[in-house]
């Protein structure tokens, strides 16, 4: 069985390390991006199954990156599952992203031992069209 390709977008290396620990290499093919701009480039070149996107990042925010991804999908192609992860500076951040189309959200900080189950749940729901 092919591994699920997950692109993790977060500017905090300590948070990246938690994702790396929680998402086992045997099960997931992972790549990391430090900001929205790098995420867009990896989305174009690598075509991940799922993107976990922080919202507040330098260079380009997760909201801007999500908007660019969804705008691109309007021209055709499959919808990539996107889960936003945020330390909740403002609840409207999640609502704004939800309006663009997201498959779920995660509030940081999170426990590394719970992250795989949360993402699988959102991804399976996406596959089933929910």
């Amino acid at each position: 069985m092919e591994k699920m390709k997950i692109l993790i977008v977060d500017d905090n290396k300590s948070v990246q390390a938690l994702y790396n620990l929680g998402l086992k290499d045997e099960i997931y093919d992972k790549k990391f991006a430090d900001n929205g701009k790098a995420a867009l480039e990896m989305h174009e070149s690598w075509h991940p199954d799922l993107i976990v996107m922080d919202i507040m990042m330098p260079v380009m925010s997760g909201f801007q990156a999500l908007k660019a991804i969804r705008d691109g999908e309007k021209k055709g192609g499959k919808t990539t599952a996107v889960v936003v992860a945020t330390a909740l500076s403002d609840k409207s951040d999640i609502i704004d992203c939800a309006r663009l189309g997201i498959q779920g959200y995660i509030i940081k900080p999170f426990k590394h031992s719970e992250i795989a189950a949360r993402l699988e749940s959102y991804y399976q729901k996406h596959l089933s069209g929910g």
Binding site: S14, L18, L21, S89, P109, H112
Partner: protein, 103 residues
Amino acid sequence: MAEGKGGKLVVKVDPDLAELIPGFIQNRHDDIRQLKIAVEKGDMATARLIGHSMKGSGGGYGFYGITDIGGAMEIAAKNGKKDEVERLIGELSDYLDNVEIVY
């Protein structure tokens, strides 16, 4: 979190995270250096981003005190309260100096 011998703050951390803890602590010391530079420049946008980032990471390692300091720093920087940001940098520094990690 509990207070241990000599006023140390005892934090119990998941043993699975043991290898990551030195890197996590080093990153927070790097945050302090960057925050001091940001305050010197009056760059509250950077201070807000670093505070927000600490808020989102601390608790994931068991350091909920860092999440609390980060959240307070994010709000202070957003409101342009430079003195409060400086006070919180000192609080973070004290926290790192006094934390005792147990697995």
